[in-house]
Symmetry: C2
Subunit: 196 residues, 2 copies
Amino acid sequence: MAQNNPNPQGPWKITVYDQENFQGKRMEFTSSCQNIMESGTDNIRSLKVECGAWTGYEHSSFCGQQFVLERGEYPHRESWSGSNAYHTERMMSFRPICSANHKESKMVVFEKENFTGHQWEINDDYPSLQAMGWGTNEIGSMQVQSGAWVCYQFPGYRGYQYILECDRHGGEYKHYREWGSHAQSFQVQSLRRIQQ
Amino acid sequence: MAQNNPNPQGPWKITVYDQENFQGKRMEFTSSCQNIMESGTDNIRSLKVECGAWTGYEHSSFCGQQFVLERGEYPHRESWSGSNAYHTERMMSFRPICSANHKESKMVVFEKENFTGHQWEINDDYPSLQAMGWGTNEIGSMQVQSGAWVCYQFPGYRGYQYILECDRHGGEYKHYREWGSHAQSFQVQSLRRIQQ
């Protein structure tokens, strides 16, 4: 894994299992994994995050649906995959979220793409953006100034997840196409800081 | 609905539809609904929360799995049901969460049932209790002093939801059996305030 390791000093640790309920082949990682097949397993079916926050991906090379993984126990696929009409069967790659910083997170959300339209500076968690005064069920673009954030399609932290970091893309996400390869619309109804 | 209305003055409004994507028969409610069948439909397939926070229930008479519903749009079942190995096909009753108060929410979590063991006073959202220093993946009991809270089985606000309110049970939830008829264990790995 050393050649794929962008943060060898980080306080990160994730233990993955190829069977549900922390059974089967057990593998520990302290840095990113680009393709779980290279570790001799075809899939991850349970996991424990022991240190740091991570992003899991549906496909290898950090592509497809994204899942934020914070410290705790995930005994089966449903415990991390979130609620979507399109259910994901796999988690093939994962990496640490180096910039996650629960207390020092700040970003600006914009009504329109390319950082235009009405804007709002955010430094807290919002289970419902509309309840806090945001006028629509969409966000056009986002600028992450510090920390790492996860945005969700539906209120109450449900649906597709988009993980946005201050140290990726220069913190600039000017269109939903930059939120991740699975993003299909501007719909975002809740968002929150990621906890290290 | 008047006879089932515990809070006729409340600023609550929910619009439900018997088809996905806000299609089909449309019904507006400003107070609790004990059985959607009495409104002449067999199921809810999409909904919009226009005012206030609500709890949806799998069965009539506010039984079965619980779903917190905050302001926003829920175009299909998966958008509110959360991620569980056991998927719920129905939402048959719902009611306003009168005590939800995002800014003034406080509760105490206890390591053991009956308000014993190590305790921790909480007034913020915690996507991972373990990341914030809680030693296990369980909570034994909870005392809600103000506001309303939602606890989740898994980190990052996933899995079974348990809605706890200061004005129900006297705010006291001394065993998982009091968290809801669907609760099967003490496992709680994230929790947060509910937003009105």
